[in-house]
């Protein structure tokens, strides 16, 4: 079926050029080299597929460059390929049909890379080939006659080295020369047969002829270096050991090293808020700016160190080719749970924080695999849950041991982590059987040769991801944080009592606020879990971030605003807290129930924001909130009810 896609843009700046090519062919490096930071990343409507556009400023023209997802074929078996096809045929709303396509072809992998090219030729697409990795090919003994190649394909071929800029001017010339120019389909590629199998054969036999005529081998095609490295990196035993250490380093980096800049940011924003207070008239304005806006912005930016660090590592791992090896090693285990080998890194990262973890799922090419991973990432007990676990354990489980030396606290922590993992496995399984049900996507993954990553590219990618996070998720996070602030701030608690302390006043404020009222409202619902309305307030406010639970409890129990989970006053306050009827608000069972709830509940507005942005869908986001809430409630309910039975009997 021949769809030809050609269109001349309406005005010079509206000429759209699409970049197509296999993954690992150097397409993104080329895109970065052509657009610099003049890039815009979004999602295509309703899917997890990333839409990358940029402006390519050439000598006399500004071209709109669109980076298609890395593809092996245009015959849509997955969403990525369907989207690429839609872009090329002008079916994407708001995107002009590309006037010319640059096919990025990896010279070290010519035959397979040319497959996509043959499909583009068949559609008579105006085409220019950007040949990358030519130096590497020559080192391996491959000599490519670009003239001959061009002649046999009927398409201009330009050798480029994105990192040095070599060939980019020529590429611009070739692109301009081919705008709107239909490609002639060589006779050998033409076929009346619509059977896709025979078309695949036809393409490859055409490619074989082309390659035979234009490529000469000066020696053995060399995999020696990569093979040597792989002897260790994908070794049955050592490969796994090394992978373990790599993951440990990444995790440690996000978990600990990021905390230095994070604390710095925290302090900086605290100081900024104080500054605002001293310079603004006391009252609503000062509070709004200091505790609402500045705190809200701070809540967004505090994630930047973790995101930047994680993406630094991801860029390095991907560009060197190690990521594919890691997926190779872990795939057997991951596929048992319905996940892709590449899901390992995002999920491990999510133990530090799900926000960079979810963003990291972009390395998973298949959209269905990516979506599953995103939806279960929040179950990996993140670092924000730790203060909650810590304070609960400190209050009721700190002195007990089993077998004389293993502390119950440690056992409980471990149990919480395992609970989260089990929930993730369960949901992945259910998703596989129901909503995401379809034949499992093929794994078929290339193991690219090991390459030295381009430093500039890595930094560029890292900064881009950080910027994207702030722009895309930042707005939602800021909005929700303002709403939560308002809920606790209004209505204002006024009293004529002069002997009331600041701490007591703050406590009364929150109890009478809308948040407090909501706490009362949900009390009947959370009563079967053993929680009273004051705990309810903390549940509501910790939607801002899980660790806010601790500071909210501090306020409610008159311990003061700035306490953390290690504060003995808070621990004591929890132990003696009373419900309205005078009975203890907290028992060991209540503490356990609360922990169980926090393992499973979606208590993080930032995660919601990121999931919404990465899936580009409210449907999936709300679904995730729904099943997490149901799971959390049910598990907490069972914990409390069954626990009560045991204790009574």
């Amino acid at each position: 079926m021949k769809d030809s896609f050609i269109k001349v843009g309406d005005s010079p700046s509206e000429i759209v050029v699409a970049l197509a090519g296999n993954p690992n062919a150097g397409k993104t490096t080329l895109f970065n080299a052509l657009t610099g930071l003049r890039q815009k990343v979004a999602n295509y409507p309703g899917v997890t597929v990333e839409r990358k556009e940029g402006i390519w400023k050439t000598k006399d023209l500004s071209l709109q460059l669109i980076d298609l997802p890395g593809l092996y074929s245009l015959e849509a078996t997955s969403i990525d390929e369907q989207i690429a096809l839609d872009v090329l045929t002008g079916k994407i709303k708001g995107l002009t049909t590309p006037s010319v396509v640059i096919a990025v072809v990896d010279a070290t992998n010519l035959e397979r890379n040319l497959y996509l090219v043959t499909q583009l030729i068949e559609k008579e697409t105006p085409l220019v080939i950007a040949l990358t990795m030519v130096d590497e090919a020559e080192k391996n003994g491959l000599n490519i006659d670009t003239e001959k190649l061009s002649q046999m394909l009927g398409v201009s071929v330009v050798a480029v080295t994105a990192s040095t800029g070599r060939g980019l001017d020529e590429l611009a010339k070739a692109v301009k020369a081919n705008i709107g120019k239909k490609t002639k389909v060589p006779e050998r590629l033409q076929s009346e047969n619509n059977d896709h199998t025979s078309r695949i054969f036809k393409r490859y036999s055409f490619i074989a002829e082309v390659v035979q005529q234009s490529v000469s081998y000066g020696g053995q095609r060399d995999h020696k270096l990569s093979d040597k490295i792989d002897k260790v990196l994908t070794h049955r035993f050592w490969g796994l050991v090394i992978l373990f250490f790599v993951l440990l380093i990444v995790f440690q980096a996000i978990f600990s090293w990021a905390s230095i800049p994070m604390e710095f940011l925290d302090k900086a924003f605290g100081n900024l808020a104080d500054l605002a207070r001293t310079h603004l008239p006391a009252g609503i304005i000062a509070d709004l700016v200091a505790d609402g806006i500045i705190a809200g912005v701070g809540a967004v930016l505090v994630f930047l160190p973790q995101i930047l660090i994680l993406f630094l590592f991801i860029s390095i791992l991907e560009d060197t080719g190690y990521m594919a090896r890691a997926a190779f090693l872990m795939d057997k285990i991951m596929s048992k749970f319905g996940l892709h080998g590449k899901a390992f890194l995002p999920l491990i990262s999510s133990f530090a924080c799900a926000i960079p973890g979810i963003m990291a799922t972009r390395t998973i090419e298949n959209p269905r695999d990516r979506l599953t991973t995103i939806l279960i990432a929040p179950f990996m007990s993140c670092s924000a849950r730790l203060p909650v676990y810590t304070v609960m354990i400190a209050a009721f489980f700190s002195d007990q041991t089993i077998l004389g030396f293993i502390s119950i606290g440690a056992v409980l922590m471990l149990a919480m982590y395992l609970l989260g993992i089990s929930a993730a496995i369960l949901i992945a399984f259910i998703l596989k059987k129901t909503l995401l049900k379809s034949p499992p996507p093929p794994f078929v993954m290339e193991l690219p040769p090991y390459r030295l990553p381009a430093f500039k590219n890595i930094i560029q990618n890292m900064l881009l991801r950080g910027l994207l996070f702030v722009k895309r998720a930042g707005t939602i996070i800021l909005l929700i944080s303002m709403i939560l602030w308002a809920l606790a701030y209004f209505p204002r608690y006024e009293t004529e009592n002069n002997e009331i302390t600041e701490v007591e006043k703050a406590s009364e404020q929150i109890r009478h606020s809308y948040a407090g009222q909501l706490g009362h409202l949900i009390e009947p619902v959370i009563k079967p879990l053993g929680f009273d309305w004051k705990i309810g307030i903390a549940l509501i406010s910790s939607f801002a971030a899980r660790e806010v639970f601790v500071s909210t409890l501090s306020i409610i129990y008159n311990v003061g605003k700035d306490q953390n989970e290690n504060n003995s006053n808070l621990v004591e306050a929890i132990r003696i807290a009373k419900k309205d009827d005078g009975s203890p608000a907290w028992t060991p069972l209540t503490a356990l129930t609360l922990m169980v709830f926090y393992v499973l509940a979606m208590q993080c507005m930032s995660t919601v924001a990121v999931v919404r942005r990465e899936t580009n869908s409210w449907k999936w986001t709300l679904l995730m909130i729904a099943y997490m809430t149901i799971l959390a409630y049910t598990a907490a309910f069972l914990t409390h009810q069954i626990g009560s039975l045991f204790l009574k009997g």
């Binding site: 997926a327 794994f443 993954m445």
Partner: protein, 77 residues
């Protein structure tokens, strides 16, 4: 009845020529689009620690395929 040999049954270091890629599924199509078609020479390089995936080499590049996917690829014994 002759026993059909598949890519999954090859040992490390063995090279074979592809006879046919069975099936009608998206896996079959994907394997063929990656260049695994009748006549191509394919070598098994390595197996992952838990038995799957396997690393093969064809047309000058390395590919990782799950063992159950490799069973679709019939080779000339």
């Amino acid at each position: 009845m002759e026993k059909k040999r598949t890519l999954a049954g090859l040992s490390i270091g063995e090279t074979a020529v592809v006879k046919e890629v069975r099936g009608e599924s998206s896996i079959t199509k994907r394997l063929m689009e990656m260049g695994i078609i009748p006549g191509v020479s394919i070598e098994v390089i390595k197996t992952a620690p838990f038995g799957s995936p396997i690393q093969v080499r064809l047309r000058g590049y390395n590919l990782a395929i799950r063992r159950n996917e490799a069973e679709f690829v019939e080779i000339i014994p």
